[in-house]
């Protein structure tokens, strides 16, 4: 943690030094939720590309471990006190970051929330997929893959977080509307694929008539592929439905494991977020809500999707 704070301070100082050398330059702070999660790496790439395209400096800081609010707050306050031009942030905690965001906004620094919203502050712009709406689509599509009354498993994300809550609530709403008699067993996780794998194995062992496993994120999808392999199932024996459109889950779709995946436009989230931040820093108006949309990947549309996001 100390390391990342130190790195952040040095990086900001360096960027600002460079900034004063070329008075026109704009420096944008970008605070991510994770530097190691496959999905977040795509978002971060989008952010970097946008900064390069806009010709602005970007200071990227990830937390020492995923969802560490205290280190995010510290980095955020450092950036504000050093006079950064705009901040794009993926809050580790929607409510916890709000007071700091309000202070920054009051100081005239535009704040762009990326992926996760801030509750209790009017950010300059909120750039994200509407998780609840996409999860409803995921639920409705998943329902078409099985009969009413079939037992399924849902692997949740963290229920202490709005993203995890929205995805679960959206899925259950979309799914149970179409398949009211199906039993949904749940594997609770904190976005941890190890928990997902162990939980899925336990439930599959006890209930051999599970027909489908639906996931709140693609780390869970890959964990289910491993769990099914461990128990000797083949592709298609139990249908899998993913969320995120991560490249390994798409590869698993090509092998016949995954039957549907609601892909967030992850790259777009980082890209649009930093473009909005750059625009706001220049004093241009930006929309208060930028929906980056989603793409429904099925075996039929996976070719289009792969071309779109650049998977070989």
């Amino acid at each position: 943690m100390l390391k990342s704070r130190l790195a952040a301070a040095t990086a900001i100082a360096l960027a600002l030094a460079v900034g004063t050398a070329h008075a026109q330059d704009i420096t944008i702070g970008y605070i991510t939720k994770s530097a190691t999660n496959a999905g977040w790496m795509m978002i971060n790439q989008g952010a970097r590309d946008a900064a390069a395209e806009e010709g602005v400096n970007i200071v990227e800081v990830g937390p020492a471990f995923a969802d560490d609010l205290t280190s995010q707050l510290e980095v955020f306050e450092n950036m504000v006190s050093q006079g950064i031009d705009a901040i794009g942030i993926a809050p580790a905690d929607s409510a916890g970051i709000a007071p700091a965001v309000n202070d920054a906004l009051a100081a005239g620094i535009p704040i762009i929330a990326i992926d996760t919203g801030v509750s209790g502050a009017e950010v300059t712009s909120f750039v994200a997929t509407d998780n609840l709406a996409v999860a409803k689509v995921q639920g409705a599509v998943a329902a078409t893959l099985i009969e009413d009354g079939d037992m399924i498993i849902y692997v949740t994300g963290s229920q202490a977080q709005s993203t995890g809550q929205d995805r679960r609530n959206g899925f259950l709403a979309g799914f149970t509307a179409a398949r009211p008699n199906s039993q949904v067993l749940e594997v609770p996780t904190e976005w941890n694929s190890e928990q997902a794998q162990v939980g899925v194995e336990a439930l599959l062992n006890q209930n051999s008539d599970v027909k489908m496993i639906v996931h709140a994120w693609d780390g869970g999808t890959m964990a289910s592929v491993a769990a099914l392999t461990n128990l000797g199932y083949g592709p298609g024996d139990v249908k899998l439905v993913g969320f995120d459109g991560a490249s390994d889950a798409i590869a698993a779709m090509d092998q016949g494991w995954v039957h549907a995946n609601t892909a967030q436009m992850l790259y777009q989230m980082g890209y649009q977020g930093i473009r909005a931040a750059a625009a706001a820093a220049r004093g241009e108006p930006v929309a208060a809500r930028i929906d980056t949309g989603f793409f429904l990947v099925t075996p039929a549309t996976s070719g289009v999707y792969k071309q779109m996001v650049g998977i070989q």
């Binding site: 790496m41 509750s119 190890e194 336990a202 062992n205 209930n207 491993a226 128990l231």
Partner: protein
């Protein structure tokens, strides 16, 4: 105090005495606390879940399979803790070496066996650094390995770009998901078996899903590793020195034990065990990645402590850790099967860990009063969980109504509500439902609250009059639970009652132990 059992006569039947001796010897073992917790918990889970029985071999094998990787890491940790040290870096070392081995194989085309050898060498180097700093420079193990926790995790991310590898070659499966019965089954299905093997192949194939499917290398290696580790700790000079260093370091040095060298060796063993844990984990995981093993150091320490090993060193056993790991994974598995709410899972996990360690402390003290208190506390804990079954509904409904009313009052003053505040305002049907839930759960909660108070009184004063009152209260609680429609909590009440009844055994056993 009257003797409740009456079993303690002058002439005890030889079979009775024999059974009692076995029981006493069992209670003296370090691992008995964890084993009792495992059995009690397994029975509780069995009673609250439906579907395939919890004690089904496939489920037990699944728990063993999933315990294997953590178990081997915890095995190494046991040795470190026995020397009164600690190794906080094992999770990071596990993640780093898992990623490294996967990376070498996937992107540099290194032969899997060579990559594994390199991983083990890497673990030895890491352990040498930790042990050297502790033994030769006298740095506290806590600080050295806390630094290691950060350094090795960072190194793992740096070395592999924190990217997942593709699926690993099947060599790695040998340490994880490979099933020794698989070749027999596929040969049977292909019709290649000789007449002698044919019936066995048919048997395996028929019982594949219900039995043989979960017989995997990870579980076998897990058990094999612990047998080996137990043999080493109890039968070799290394094992004896580890205990000696932990119980009295200066005495060990004076007795001519080269303590520094052995401490370095222990940290090397711990890091190598982390690498072996990584290997077993890779055998069942979808890919290799440097964020594996997060928080494993804490889980491993928890397993060691639950298994009755003292954090102050010198006392404990490898088998205790084995039981501790299984208990942790059993809690996980059981609570998932029981489909308990996530946040409750966290609370219940903590309660079980505290009870398991309390059991161990009570067991060591051999003070009958403390044992009785513990059993009463167990009954109280069960009553608390029973109480929470209706009370959590009541609390949730009450809080929702309070929030609703407060927000409406705020609205009445003309304030605009922020979105999360507006969410607290309920529509009339939701208000109706909350009121109904409050009314339904209120009375049973109040009744069970009284039962809990009586159970707590039995903790404070564990004499037999209060205990019998608590037992009667639990009986009443069972009636409440069954009539009010919370039958899922009934096994908890019964477990509490069993704990209270077991108090009667304390006195005769205690007398015998002395």
């Amino acid at each position: 105090m009257a003797d409740i059992t009456g079993a303690e006569g002058q002439q005890t039947h030889p079979a009775m005495r024999w059974a009692r001796d076995i029981l006493l010897r069992f209670l003296r073992a370090e691992w008995s606390g964890a084993l009792i917790a495992i059995v009690v918990l397994a029975i509780a889970i069995e009673m609250v879940t439906d579907g395939r029985p919890f004690f089904h071999p496939t489920n037990i094998m699944t728990i063993l399979n999933n315990s294997a990787a953590l178990g081997i890491v915890a095995g190494g940790m046991t040795l470190v803790i026995l020397t009164a040290g600690i190794d906080l870096s094992v999770g990071s070392v596990m993640g780093m070496t898992a990623a490294l081995m996967g990376y070498l194989v996937s992107y540099l085309g290194v032969d899997p066996l060579l990559a594994i050898a390199m991983g083990i060498a890497c673990g030895m180097g890491v352990g040498f650094i930790h042990g050297g700093l502790v033994a030769w420079f006298g740095m506290p193990a806590f600080i050295v390995t806390l630094a290691g926790l950060s350094v090795w995790r960072g190194t793992g991310h740096l070395a592999t770009g924190a990217q997942a590898t593709p699926q690993l070659p099947s060599t790695f499966d040998t340490f994880g998901r490979w099933n020794p019965f698989e070749p027999l089954r596929s040969a049977y299905q292909a019709g290649e078996l000789s007449a002698f093997w044919q019936p066995m192949g048919a048997f395996v194939d028929d019982n594949w899903v219900n039995f043989f499917r979960t017989f995997q290398m990870s579980a076998l290696l897990f058990v094999g590793f612990f047998i080996l580790l137990a043999l080493i700790t109890s039968n070799t000079r290394f094992g004896r020195y580890v205990y000696a260093i932990g119980s009295n370091p200066s005495g060990a040095r004076q007795a001519g034990i080269p303590t520094t060298r052995y401490i370095v060796m222990v940290y090397m063993v711990a890091s190598v065990c982390a690498v072996l844990g990584a290997l077993l984990f890779l055998g069942r995981a979808p890919y290799a990645k440097s964020d594996y093993g997060l928080m494993w150091e804490l889980e491993a320490i928890a397993a060691v402590v639950i298994g009755g090993t003292s954090l102050f060193g010198g006392r404990g056993s490898v088998w205790g850790t084995f039981m501790g790991v299984i208990l942790l994974k059993l809690i996980n598995n059981g609570l998932t099967l029981a489909q308990l709410n996530t946040f409750w899972q966290m609370v219940v996990t903590g309660i079980i860990i505290v009870l398991a360690v309390a059991l161990d402390i009570v067991r060591q003290s051999r003070d009958p009063m403390l044992v009785k208190r513990f059993l009463a506390a167990l009954a109280a804990a069960m009553t608390f969980l029973t109480l929470m079954t209706p009370a959590s509904l009541w609390v949730r409904a009450t809080i929702a109504l309070m929030e609703h009313n407060a927000m409406q009052e705020l609205q009445a003053t003309g304030a605009t509500l922020a979105p999360p505040q507006a969410q607290r305002v309920m529509n009339p049907t939701a208000v109706e439902a909350a009121l109904a839930a409050q009314a339904d759960a209120g009375l049973p909660s109040a009744a069970l609250m009284v039962v809990l108070l009586v159970a707590l009184a039995a903790v404070a004063r564990p004499d037999h009059r209060v205990t019998i009152a608590a037992l009667m209260a639990l009986g009443a609680g069972l009636a409440v639970v069954l009539t009010a429609g919370y039958a899922t909590a009934a096994p908890l009440v019964m477990l509490g009652a069993v704990a209270l009844i077991a108090q009667a055994l304390v006195k005769p056993l205690g007398r015998q132990a002395r």
